[in-house]
Subunit: 247 residues, 2 copies
């Protein structure tokens, strides 16, 4: 099996620490199966500023490039130098020596990335289309057919400055409306309310109306579905992209 | 379409409140399409004692049976009287007049139900089989190939007395080991640690070892997978039950 050695560039999860002599030991054991190095700066998800993300990007690139150089200096093959993470991919200023950037959320963006300042709400290219199925006017609730089974249980923005609940509610064109969020979710029911808990004119959201929900985490939300329905400027479905699931 | 009228037996989500004259109005509009009433005592998930769950079960049954009687007294058909919720189904003392109990988690049970006193850990019939893929000895971490994409993002026990993290770790026979829990999870990586954060003998958990994780919420975890692998007392897979997904 052609193999990449994982590098722990930020102490976030797993891999060989840069400078650790295990790198060469593993490289020698792999021999001709060695394909290169990979890292993922998952720590960048907790950054508070663009400058901090840029620092993570430097650290990520430097760790991968430095380990590749060590392997090559020992006469080992290292054609692949792979980095990851959506924040660092977006803000990296120098990717010299990197041959691959593995990013996931980057394709769609999501509310977590918007909260991190990596994108704006308008950049988010994935949403869940749902239908109003009821109201609880005295509670200020609009009830939909999209609960956490449709949106995922991911509440990533709960740890950010602005908690977006289970998602930001938009009209079918993708424009946020009335400062509505999915305030709570049961398995198959979403509960939409105003962010401030204030009163809502239920007549504007009749039963049967379609709404879109921008997700906290595009990966988690997309994994709840069998396919993407691709739309352009019109609401017409232009393609259906099946997902592969599992991992 | 044959239709059930949803009854809001506990103010938890949606439906017609018992005693509300809307019930008969809706029944009359449905006419021969009326098939009965249904309710789900979702509020029972927040109970603190068996007695409280029994009270929810009485309330759930009474609401459904009373609404059915009102419909019948008005000359409307009401063959189905349907109640739900795993806690109330387990502790109900009287289901007179109920024709259907819709329960989901009840089939498998899970850590949330164990935390609620509805079952024991030994009753939980669903787990995620995973493999040890690495260690971070200085952090006390065992790293596995089952992150939240395999376990789900459901952290239901976080609101209970005992927070089980992303799940309780068992040997392949399903017996909890060393008070280990999945303390944290990335998308494709699980991080196992002792509940008390204490040191771990990593040699007992070598790379390649199989472990089972009992889930917080059986519904959420099962939905992350395409099929159930059914095993009996031996570890042999006796059947593969495909899931239908979507809702």
């Amino acid at each position: 099996l052609p193999t990449l050695i994982e590098i722990d560039s930020d102490g976030h999860r797993a891999g060989v620490k840069p400078g650790d002599m295990q790198l060469l030991e593993i490289g020698k054991i792999l021999g001709t199966n060695l394909r290169g190095v990979m890292t993922h700066a998952g720590g960048s998800y907790e950054c508070k500023s663009h400058e901090e993300i840029r620092a993570y990007a430097r650290r990520e690139r430097d760790a991968a490039v430095r380990c590749a150089a060590q392997l090559r200096a020992a006469g080992l093959p290292c054609p692949v130098v792979s980095v990851g993470s959506t924040p660092t991919a977006t803000f990296a200023e120098n990717l010299d020596g990197v041959t691959e950037v593995r990013v996931g959320v980057y394709m769609f963006f999501d509310l977590f990335m918007a909260g991190l300042g990596v994108c704006t709400l308008e950049d988010i290219a994935l949403s869940v289309l749902c239908t109003v199925i009821g109201h609880q006017p005295e509670k200020g609730w609009i009830i939909t057919d999209a609960g956490w089974m449709a949106l995922s249980r991911d509440r990533g923005t709960a740890s950010q400055k602005v908690d977006q609940g289970y998602g930001v509610v938009c009209d079918t064109a993708g424009k946020p409306v009335d400062d509505l969020i999915v305030a709570s979710a049961n398995q198959e029911h979403g509960i939409i309310a105003r962010r401030d808990g204030g009163a809502l004119d239920m007549a504007r959201y009749p039963v049967g109306m379609s709404l879109r929900v921008l997700p906290n985490h595009a990966c988690a939300t997309a994994a709840q579905h069998a396919a993407y329905h691709v739309i352009g400027d019109s609401a017409r479905i232009e393609a259906v992209w099946p997902r592969f699931s599992g991992w």
